[in-house]
């Protein structure tokens, strides 16, 4: 029996399209989103071998503008945003003053004084509130522009080949984590070479009214190349194979970037002070409280969020994300390890005996082995 919802979920400019395609819909962070269209394994495999089309319009988009915008973001976020050139993007995080992660973000520098901050749907309101507060007293304006953007992603090795038929923009010169204004299928968009799948791909920020036409144009252009629409279930298994964290699983207020193995996003030595600096500096010095590791199951049962990791039969960690990996054909998981398991994981590969590690899957200890992340890495990188 489904729980009663307090309010109807929000619809993206493409919700109707997904419903017409017969997608299984789900309420995700208050948005009515496609979970899968037919088979999430087929959608996952399409992204790895051809291309997949995603509606990501539920993500939060904030515009930060003004002569102090860069400085405000240097203070509000852990990275050195001011060092990002116009036309480039940065993966970063916003933390609390104790270093706990409030969200992971991509910040696109559109111009010297104009930044697009993309937040997770579930955290958009928090990010708007925090950025607004942290920018107070500066010549910087923070605006929630979520309603003004639709976001479509095309991801997979054939993405560029498909997209190039719809735009004059020279795609080879659009490098990974770069973005610029472009015309796609005759519509003005911000085109970014970013993604959450571990494949080459593009994220297309457009006006909501243009979304259905863009989706249709991409669908048609990609038809012969094997492009299919892909839902949130495939999005999750793809990012997991690529070793990418999900807020709410690997990242939360109880973790700093360091536990997630993402200390590289924290620029402790940037000129400006920033929220969380003291706590993060202390954590950097101490080392992470727990260790995020990759596990591959040796039986076919799938580890799930919250399952215990066992070291020689005793609990020594917790699974944060688990899924069947279509690419590996095995179950995979990310887990925070502590105590004995963390020590075991830190030892050189030959010494960490696989027989010591298992995951408690609903009462049964299923053996697993540690592997170095990511589970999957694409062959070519442009």
């Amino acid at each position: 029996m489904p729980d009663p919802q307090p309010a109807a979920p929000r619809r993206t400019p493409l919700t109707q399209v997904h419903e017409a395609l017969g997608a299984t819909m789900t309420d995700f962070a208050g948005w009515q989103m496609p979970l899968r269209y037919r088979s999430e394994i087929a959608e996952h495999n399409a992204v790895r071998t051809a291309a997949g089309l995603f509606d990501l319009s539920h993500m939060g988009e904030l515009l930060v503008t003004g002569s102090d915008a860069a400085a405000a973001l240097d203070y509000a976020l852990v990275s050195e945003i001011s060092a990002t050139r116009p036309g480039r993007a940065k993966y970063t995080m916003i933390t609390d003053s104790d270093g706990g992660v409030l969200d992971d973000l991509i910040v696109y520098r559109l111009a010297d004084e104009e930044f697009l901050v993309v937040a997770n749907a579930a955290n958009a309101a928090t990010v708007v509130a925090e950025l607004t507060e942290r920018a107070a007293g500066r010549a910087a304006v923070v605006e929630d522009k979520t309603e003004d953007f639709a976001l479509i992603a095309i991801q997979g090795p054939r993405s560029a080949g498909i997209l190039t038929t719809l735009t004059e923009t020279d795609l080879p010169s659009l490098k990974y984590y770069a973005s610029y204004q472009a015309l796609v299928a005759g519509r003005n968009v911000l085109l970014a070479r970013t993604g959450y799948t571990g494949e080459d791909g593009f994220e297309i920020f457009a006006a909501p009214d243009d979304a259905p036409a863009l989706w249709a144009a991409l669908t048609e252009a990609g038809n012969d190349a094997g492009l299919i629409p892909a839902g949130l279930a495939a999005r999750d298994s793809l990012r997991l194979e690529a070793g990418m964290p999900l807020y709410g699983n690997e990242l939360s207020r109880e973790t700093t970037p360091f536990e997630a193995g993402l200390g590289r996003v924290v620029k402790l030595d940037k000129a400006s002070d920033f929220v969380g600096k003291q706590a993060l500096a202390a954590r950097a010095k101490q080392g992470p409280a727990r260790l995020l590791a990759g596990l591959v199951g040796q039986t076919r049962r799938v580890p799930r969020h919250g399952y215990a990791v066992l070291w020689e039969g005793k609990p020594s960690g917790t699974v944060t994300s688990g899924a069947h990996s279509p690419t590996l054909g095995k179950p995979i998981a990310l887990a925070y390890l502590d105590g004995e398991a963390a020590a075991g994981a830190a030892r050189p590969a030959q010494q960490a005996t696989d027989s010591q590690l298992a995951i408690d899957i609903r009462g049964s200890a299923e053996p697993a082995e540690l592997i170095k992340l990511p589970f999957y890495r694409r062959q070519d990188r442009t």
Binding site: T24, S39, E40, P331
Partner: protein
């Protein structure tokens, strides 16, 4: 949504085909759609005794795990080796190649008590979709 007329059903979305006091059991089209891609099936072991209404195994999909319930009292005689090799059969052919296990029924009743007809099951899933 396929609900073959000649089969019997449970409220837990299993189907049952009965012949000669043996029940062949699987999950319905409704169930396989709800589950998504099945990646692993754990049926009851051959030789084990099963009781109507008790959980006797699991069907695991990419996103979730569902208990398998036994539709009637008896002894498990066979499990489907093809589904073990290729769990996707549960999605592609839930009433045919995707059958899960067979039970030799204790009772001689042509239809064990508590099972639903195709019409009753159709009505049940209509209600659940509301």
């Amino acid at each position: 949504m396929s609900v073959p007329e000649e089969l019997y059903y449970t409220a837990e979305h299993e189907w049952v085909a009965i012949s000669d006091s043996t029940a062949r059991v699987g999950i319905t089209d409704y169930a396989q759609r709800a589950l998504g891609d099945v990646v692993y099936v754990s049926p009851p072991a051959p030789g084990s005794r099963v009781t109507a209404g008790d959980p006797c195994g699991e069907v695991e999909s990419t996103k979730s795990v569902s208990d398998l319930y036994c539709p009637a009292d008896g002894e498990v005689t066979e499990v489907n080796p093809e589904v073990d090799e290729d769990p996707g059969l549960v999605n592609s052919d839930p009433y045919g190649a995707g059958w899960l296990f067979k039970v030799k029924l204790d009772s001689d009743d042509p239809v064990p008590p508590g099972l639903l007809s195709a019409a009753e099951y159709s009505a049940l899933i209509q209600d659940e979709e509301q």
